[in-house]
């Protein structure tokens, strides 16, 4: 690759630390002679942090040099992973290993496209205190016919970002702990052009925060069998009452029902929203682009409802396609990339929380970074993907069809009554679930 990156002081220090760490650790790493002379193509997930992207590329290339493996590292924009992988699967041009999220992993694993990595998964877990429970549960759920399909390396999810500078003046020193409290605080500071509640209600990933809200009110997508849709319920009605009340108070910024994936970010960076739910990328952007906003921002977990907090983790994996021509090399590399020295440097620059029980002890999570502290909290207290629902392919499909944001739109935009909106969501979601019976 002929990429040139801006080498910031932080990236330099992180890279040096990782390099030194890995250099010290090298005697302990097996370097099979069988790998020499082989080639390995790796598709890394391009994330918001240039420093983290560079660190991954450099580390893989250094590993290749040390083991005599020709490495070709390509950073794939995560927004386009589905298209790239779809085409690569069809044309049999899959890389030897690549990064992907749980949603895609579960779909591809069902097609038996990955080499099983159970032994590698267990080996890495044993070496670092075991996998965090929510991570372990999700990875086991996403197994293919022959075993676990990927090795987790980072967890993320939605945190609640709030304009502490504005809220503190209004007398709210602490973050809201319930959805109702969130509306109360948002309404108190709602003075357009600053709106209280920048939560997306549109057909994008951010809109699915509404699924978490619904579940924390006791609502469910499907029953415990994971086959019969159970959207229509009294709990869902309670949730709809909450969201309709917030809508009627006019605390949502204009356009939330049609926002794209960057809608909440743009709104927050524009000083248009007092609260948003975000993975932390806005925080990193504000750090360099708007230090004043960054200083006035605080992070907390998502609020809870009558049934507690539902804050699903989004897990990132490294997986090896069955079509890989260098499965042995890919396994060695994935194990190499799981080492604490590299992961510490990576966590410091990326926006991922830990996945292994020993990782919270890393320097990255010492509390000096508000974002990483929030992600650590999320990794510890976050709920397994889909929970309390059964996370299966049908759930992932329903999730990607934005069935709950659409139901909300029927209520707040089209003024449907709750029963009609619930019936419609129930019917369309059951059709999705029926595809996988």
């Amino acid at each position: 690759m002929t990429t040139r990156y801006r080498l910031t002081r932080r990236a330099l220090l992180a890279g040096t630390a990782a390099g030194v760490g890995l250099g010290l650790a090298r005697p302990g790493i097996a370097q099979p002679a069988a790998l020499r002379g082989t080639t390995l193509t790796y598709w890394g997930g391009l994330i918001f942090s240039d420093a983290a992207n560079k660190l991954l590329v450099d580390t893989i290339n250094r590993w290749g040099q040390a083991n005599g493996v020709r490495t070709d590292v390509v950073m794939i924009n995560q927004n386009e992973t589905v298209q790239k992988v779809s085409a690569a699967v069809a044309s049999n041009t899959m890389p030897d290993a690549f990064d992907l999220n749980l949603d895609l992993l579960i779909v591809l694993a069902r097609q038996n496209l990955f080499a099983p990595v159970d032994d590698l998964y267990e080996k890495i877990g044993r070496a670092q205190g075991g996998w965090l429970p929510a991570i372990d549960g999700a990875t086991t759920t996403a197994r293919g016919p022959e075993g676990r399909a990927g090795v987790p390396f980072g967890a993320s999810g939605n945190m609640l970002l709030r304009r502490d500078d504005v809220l503190a003046k209004a007398g709210f020193a602490n973050p809201p702990t319930t959805w109702q409290e969130l509306v109360t605080q948002a309404a108190a500071v709602n003075k357009p052009p600053l709106f209280g509640l920048g939560l997306a209600l549109s057909n994008v990933g951010d809109g699915n925060v509404q699924v978490s809200a619904l579940q924390s009110f006791g609502g469910r997508i499907a029953d415990d069998t994971g086959r019969t849709v159970a959207i229509k319920s009294e709990a869902t009605r309670e949730y709809l009452r909450w969201v309709k009340d917030a809508w009627d108070r006019k605390i949502f910024p204009p356009g939330v029902s049609t926002w794209d994936g960057a809608g909440d970010n743009n709104s927050y960076l524009a000083g248009q929203s007092a609260f948003i739910a975000n993975t932390g990328s806005v925080g990193i952007a504000a750090k360099t682009q708007d230090p004043e906003l960054f200083a006035g921002t605080k992070y907390s977990s998502l609020p809870g409802g009558p049934k507690g907090v539902v804050s699903p983790l989004t897990i990132q994996y490294r997986a090896i396609p069955k079509a890989s021509k260098n499965v042995a090399g890919a396994r060695e590399l994935i194990e190499h990339l799981s080492q604490p020295a590299f992961m510490n440097a990576y966590f410091e620059n990326a926006i991922y929380g830990p996945v292994l029980a020993d990782q919270p002890k890393l320097k990255a999570f010492d509390g000096s970074s508000a974002i990483l502290s929030g992600l650590l909290d999320l990794a510890r207290r976050g709920t397994a993907p889909g929970a309390p629902d059964v996370y299966n392919v049908a759930y992932a499909d329903a999730w990607n069809n934005f069935v709950i944001p659409k139901m909300v739109q029927r209520v707040v935009i089209d003024n449907w009554d709750f029963d009609r909106a619930m019936d419609d969501a129930q019917r369309s979601t059951q059709a999705i679930y029926d595809k996988y019976r």
């Binding site: 994330i47 924009n77 044309s91 994936g261 970010n265 524009a270 990328s281 708007d290």
Partner: protein, 301 residues
């Protein structure tokens, strides 16, 4: 606008009050008409130019100002977005790749489409009409349906992840379009002119290159512009077929500026300004041909 001018009065010495009134009424209408025309044109120009203006001024703004102060003029002018684009993101490499791809596709399309269109228009052979229609259907097939078959094909041809592969793929869209467009222009060239040339010693190819093509210059310009613009702006196929950073085209490189869910508007707009520059130059140079072409079409019926 063509408004009938008042005829000179047959007896200018004799004052004629009603005629003078008619003159001024017509004059007023003429002025009013022109005013409304220019007003509407000004609104149209503003509507068209405003997004371009916004793109340009956004590329000179600081990030905070872009989000916080949607002003018509930057409070602080900065070249930083261009520096990020050119120094950190090496945007000149994708620009070069786009130029290579778009130019090669345009030249090849013009050559092949000219021959194909000439064959369909001038020669008689079985299936000629069917071929002409199938070419149009090929062009009308949505790209989103074709990206997986094309990626399989490119992988088998060992042309994946290269700008040469992109050229081949883009030709599958541009040649049908060019052939279809040029058929109309070639039909408008009188067959007798070619026959006359051939009587004077020109070969069939000579007649094509020395008579038909020069007379179809506006059509060739139109095809060149459509083809170049299409290849220059294409994103979906480049996204799927190109992986390496060194092979990315300008739209793909711009797309890669967006990571995660944060939009770097400053560098994006700077990239949009830079990558729209070649198209602006092309349209500026070729607009004369385009206008001629449209006028020619209108009189030929």
């Amino acid at each position: 606008m063509t408004v009938a001018r008042p005829r000179p009065h047959p007896h200018p010495a004799a004052p004629d009050r009603p005629t003078a009134d008619v003159f001024w009424t017509i004059r007023r209408r003429e002025i009013l008409g022109k005013t409304i025309t220019y007003l509407l044109l000004t609104i149209a120009v503003l509507l068209i130019l405003f997004p371009i203006y916004w793109m340009v001024i956004t590329s000179f703004k600081l990030p905070r100002e872009i989000f916080r102060v949607p002003s018509l003029w930057p409070q602080v002018f900065t070249w930083n977005n261009y520096k990020i684009l050119l120094e950190q993101k090496d945007f000149l490499i994708p620009m070069r790749n786009s130029l290579i791809v778009a130019s090669t596709v345009t030249v090849t399309s013009l050559l092949v489409s000219s021959l194909a269109a000439y064959s369909i228009v001038r020669f008689r052979y079985p299936g000629r009409t069917l071929v002409g229609r199938l070419i149009l259907f090929a062009y009308l097939t949505p790209t989103s349906l074709l990206f997986i078959p094309l990626s399989i094909l490119m992988a088998r041809l060992q042309l994946g992840n290269s700008i040469f592969g992109l050229v081949v793929v883009y030709l599958t869209f541009s040649i049908p379009l060019g052939t279809w467009l040029l058929q109309g222009y070639f039909r408008a060239v009188p067959r007798e002119l070619e026959e006359q040339g051939m009587i004077d010693g020109l070969s069939r190819l000579g007649a094509l290159f020395r008579i038909v093509l020069p007379l179809s210059a506006p059509g060739l310009a139109a095809v060149a512009i459509f083809t170049f613009t299409g290849a220059w702006n294409e994103l979906l196929l480049a996204l799927v077929l190109v992986t390496s950073e060194s092979q990315r085209t300008a739209p793909l490189a711009l797309n890669y500026l967006i990571t995660s869910d944060v939009l770097p508007w400053g560098p994006l707009m700077a990239g949009a300004v830079i990558s729209s520059f070649p198209l602006m130059v092309l349209y500026f140079v070729a607009q004369r041909f385009m206008v001629t072409d449209l006028t020619a079409g209108s009189v030929k019926g």
